[in-house]
Amino acid sequence: MSAIRTSKLKKTFDEVVAVDDLTITVTEGEIFGLVGPDGAGKTTTMRLLTAIMEPTSGDAWVAGFHVVKEAEAIKERIGYMSQKFGLYPDLSVMENINFYADIYGVPRKGRSKRIDELLAFSNLTPFKQRLAGNLSGGMKQKLGLACALIHTPKVLFLDEPTNGVDPVSRRDFWRILYQLLREKVTIFVSTAYLDEAERCNRLGLIYKGQILALGTPDEVKQIMPGAILEIRVADSRKAYQLLKKELREESVGLFGERIHIVTRDPQKVESEAAKILQDAGIDASAPRPIEPSLEDVFVSVLAEQERSEQAR
């Protein structure tokens, strides 16, 4: 059974289309990542699925309930963590958790056991009495997660949960998410970080409200048109400028000391690039084809999209 299913889900604000005919399915017990740049429509999608906003048209079902007609049933079965952590800074860790437990109507019986579990796996036990406002960014985020999980939801929505959190806390956070999967919780996470997208079971690439690619990280990498050639070069900036000027047809990207050329005709471009650099007297490694990372896919798919939009 699918935990989330949408069909031609659409939301427009005045003239702007925030979410455009979104059709996706998320299977129970998986982590699904909604990946896209800022303003792509991730938060709006979250709000539509968590039933705090009504779609302009189309349908969506979460945990088997319709987001408009059965919104109340959905609210009892989902947890949600918005971008702002949604905690009361002047209440303590325990007061925040208890407040959300009360609002969700978590029965007193068994509640303290649940709270202890949540505090333990989020490492917040020593900070029970601390005011939420005095927690570090990473701890706030874990407290937000604990509050969103207090009523043992079936589906968990996380809107850019690790935005502005340090790398160690981010890794911690993902460790917790994987633990949740063992409890059969479905996780729907939005992110602009591609390393996080790699950790998802499946992901959807969203841009300007539209899904551009959908599948497992490996599948998404396959949709990349053409191949990637990597060149390692010391004076990468100069080489990058030059290649960009000469190879107009291809998409050239700079990643530190590496230059990536995305092309549909790797054989031809391989020799062309080598020749250009040789002629300019730039000392560089020979271009070699590599496996695309999500970042490459992301950049090239978005570039493709922009080009086709301009052509229109």
Binding site: R47, T50, A51, I52, M53, E72, K75, E76, I78, Y80, M81, S82, Q83, K84, F85, G86, L87, Y88, P89, D90, L91, E95, F99, Y100, D102, I103, Y104, G105, C147
Partner: protein
């Protein structure tokens, strides 16, 4: 449903009482306001600093001056001996009135002519100036009457008191015409409005700002539960402030309370519905606490000025008077003053009570409707 509202209330109270500044706003501000209005704000005009410019300096002129100085209304601050000092004193605001008696006053009076007395008042504060002029008219009239009867007596050889009508004034409800009896009950109305407007709008907007609003909207809580959870605490605080101000007013300032306390609380309840409703409305049009604060004052000041709290509504232009019918404070002031000073009951106050109830229901209904639309 009641469970959730109860927990919202508990949370709200923890937050309010954890903030020391909040405690000050809730408990200290009302007391300070009552003290200010009880002691400092008074429209009674007494002990007006007065200068005397007696150019005649005769027994008759000195007698006239003593008539003024003998009242509690005029305090002679200085005797003037040259013209220039008149302007100087008024310019510096050292005196508010100058009594000037021209040379020849005593002679004229003895000769049976009608001498003139000049009183110069500082007209900057027109209210006080008007009152001072009323006093001088009264004192001069009384003095003229005596001069007249003395003259009769001399002419006829025996003292004669010409027949006249004696005016016997008696202010009801506030026998000594004390300003504080008028203002202290009014403070209840304005303080409750300010506190509930501000706290409600700020508390809701704060949840928007810190993002808990969105977090709460995903929970099974209904908008009605949220609205009640956000307004009932401030209604309770409003009622606590009514009690606080009443206690200070009655026991400290000895403001009489002649009417029914239960009626006062019932009216407060109706009145709170309007102020909480407006507070909620403000929260739906504000995204930040600053905006909420500005909007609160944008509503509050006109409401106070056009309520009859300080300035009588009857003196306002007619179009503005119509506007005051939309002001809940206007009705509540009539009720509060009626209960405190006149001791009147629902038989007389029902139109005001009904107006408050209707306005309360309408604002609350409208605010909740808007709230549901804008909260996400």
């Amino acid at each position: 449903m009641f469970e959730r509202i109860k927990h919202m209330l508990i949370k709200e109270f923890i937050q309010i009482f954890r903030d020391p500044k909040m405690k000050g706003v809730i408990f200290l501000m009302p007391v300070i306001q009552v003290l200010v209005f009880g002691y400092a704000v008074t429209t009674d005009v007494k002990h007006v600093a007065t200068a005397v410019y007696d150019q005649d300096n005769s027994p008759a002129s000195r007698e006239l001056v003593s008539r003024f100085a003998g009242t509690e209304y005029f305090d002679v601050a200085e005797y003037i001996y040259h013209e220039g000092r008149v302007t100087e004193l008024l310019d510096h605001g050292k005196v508010r009135a100058i009594i000037r008696i021209r040379e020849g006053y005593g002679d004229d009076l003895r000769a049976g002519k009608t001498p003139q007395l000049q009183v110069i008042v500082d007209g900057t504060d027109s209210n006080t100036a008007g009152t001072v002029l009323d006093y001088t008219t009264d004192i001069t009239r009384e003095y003229s009457k005596q001069v007249l009867s003395r003259r009769y007596a001399r002419l006829q050889g025996q003292p004669v008191d010409p027949p006249r009508v004696v005016l016997d004034t008696r202010p009801w409800f506030n026998a000594n015409l004390e300003s504080r009896n008028f203002y202290v009950p009014g403070v209840i109305a304005i303080i409750v409005m300010l506190i509930t407007l501000m706290l409600t709008s700020m508390a809701v907007v704060r949840e928007k700002e810190i993002g808990t609003m969105e977090q709460i909207m995903v929970t099974p809580i209904t908008p009605a539960e949220f609205i009640l959870g956000k307004t009932v605490p401030f209604a309770l605080i409003g009622i606590a402030d009514v009690i606080l101000v009443t206690v200070v007013g009655v026991f400290w300032f000895e403001v009489p309370i002649r009417g029914n306390l239960a009626l006062l609380f019932l009216a407060t309840g109706f009145y709170l519905m309007t102020t909480l409703g407006v507070g909620l409305l403000i929260s739906t049009v504000s995204d930040t606490q600053q905006q909420a604060m500005m909007s609160t004052f944008f509503f509050y000041f006109p409401a106070v000025l056009l309520s009859g709290f300080m300035f009588p509504i009857a003196n306002m232009p007619e179009s503005v008077q119509w506007l005051t019918y939309l002001n809940p404070l206007r009705y509540f002031l009539v009720v509060v003053r009626g209960i405190f000073l006149k001791g009147i009951g629902p038989l007389i106050l029902w139109p005001q009570m009904a107006a408050l109830l209707v306005m309360g229901l309408i604002t609350l209904w409208f605010a909740s409707k808007r709230f549901k639309k804008t909260s996400v």
